[in-house]
Amino acid sequence: MKVELTEISWRDAQQVLSLAQLAELSGLRETELRELVDCGVIDPIDRDAGEPSFRADCIFTMQTARRLHKDFELDAHGLTLALALLNRIQDLETQLSELRVQQPRRPRKKFLEE
């Protein structure tokens, strides 16, 4: 069977998304996204620009927001708090993982004798 090759579309946090694109990719409505911008959950690249645009990596935060909104019926303020706490956990986990990789493993005795 011939298996189709599908290309990945982007992997780049530097890519810029319009409000409409972010809405399409995250599953949130534009009004909900604007509310999250007002609550400071996501920052547009240029706050003064007429039409806001966003860094592509915020899509994952917005997808989490959509799931939390749907599954817990959270409003924008609830989402802001939940996402801030999740973000803090994420930062702590990143720090923990950085410390872990810098922790030497105990060398196994058999290798020391060789």
Partner: protein, 317 residues
């Protein structure tokens, strides 16, 4: 089709009211929601809980579910003969059908029911396990997925999908890649959902990964640490010669530039060699004599700070 006990999953009685069902769902969702939970199998557990709640919170779906009768969880069963017509489920075979798919397609089943407007397909996320070498060089992975898809009647079916995708070099652990249009099929002209691949790197025998940087332990013999040395350090692109300066301490990091994982546009992470001082477990008589000789003549006191600290302590008390 296998029976699922939705009341049992939520831990409520069959006559529970909607408020109790919602309360039970919320309690379990707090425990198992994949965005907030660290429980084992949280995602699977949450799917079961959400599926049970989706059905039981909707009076029409709940009535339809109740009319399926009581069976043991996991037991193969078929709905009563007139059940399909009664609940507008259309005519179809129940072979390989999931109970959740059946309820997703029912009348009153939400926006995707038959006769409604177009709907975008769902986004899905699947883990892709790679070796560090695959992440370093880039690779192709073949994905065998079973995707829920709406048929013309608006009913969900699981459809196998097989395709390959290219994983670009330099992906890092936890990174999510988007494969456009490979999620759930859109309904009634809606766009297809996307598939997100979450990269999970297998642990490596030598290297530990932090973003694009790699870490390797560099055990040194006590005399190598004192005198300095040159050692061959393995990297993902072949060994490199590393100069170790004399007097190096355990825990110090030696940076081997650009020998980490490649970055998306240009450049690479670094490889850090973490110095460890390894003491031999077995030594010959001659070695013991030489160590003893060294101990006798050396003025080095690695615990000089202990004495200083004790003096400071006694002064304060």
């Amino acid at each position: 089709m296998k029976y699922k006990d939705y009341y049992g999953i939520l831990g409520v009685a069959q006559n529970a009211n909607v408020a109790d069902i919602k309360k039970a769902y919320r309690k379990l969702a707090h425990k198992y929601h994949p965005d907030v939970s660290k429980e084992a199998n949280a995602e699977q557990k949450f799917k079961e809980v959400a599926e049970a709640y989706e059905t039981l919170k909707n009076p029409e779906k709940r009535a339809a579910y109740d009319q399926l009768g009581k069976h043991r969880p996991g037991e193969e069963f078929r709905p009563p003969p007139d059940w399909q017509q009664q609940h507008g489920a259309g005519s179809f075979s129940f072979e390989d059908f999931d109970l959740s798919d059946l309820f997703a397609g029912l009348r009153g089943g939400g926006a995707r029911s038959r006769g409604r407007g177009s709907m975008a397909g769902e986004d899905y996320e699947v883990p892709v396990h790679l070796t560090l070498e695959d992440a370093f060089r880039g690779s192709e992975v073949e994905l065998n997925l079973s995707m829920p898809e709406y048929n013309d009647q608006g009913l969900l079916r699981r459809v196998p999908q097989v395709f390959k995708t290219r994983i670009p070099k330099g992906v890092i652990d936890g990174q999510r890649l988007r494969v456009p249009g490979k999620g759930g099929k859109g309904f009634n002209g809606g766009r297809n959902g996307d598939l997100y691949l979450t990269i999970a790197l297998h642990p490596h025998a030598l290297f530990r990964v932090n973003g694009h940087d790699l870490y390797i332990d560099l055990p040194l013999a006590p005399w190598e640490a004192v005198l300095g040395t040159s050692v061959d350090v393995p990297t993902l692109s072949g060994a490199v010669r590393l100069k170790v300066p004399p007097g190096i301490q355990a825990g110090q990091k030696l940076r081997i530039a650009k020998r980490g994982l490649p970055k998306p546009h240009a450049g690479e992470g670094d490889l850090f060699a973490l110095v460890q001082i390894a003491a031999p477990h077995v030594i010959s008589e001659r070695e013991r004599a030489l160590y003893q000789q060294l101990a006798n003549i050396s003025k080095f006191n690695p615990r000089g700070n202990f004495r200083q600290e004790s003096r400071n302590e006694s002064r304060t008390h």
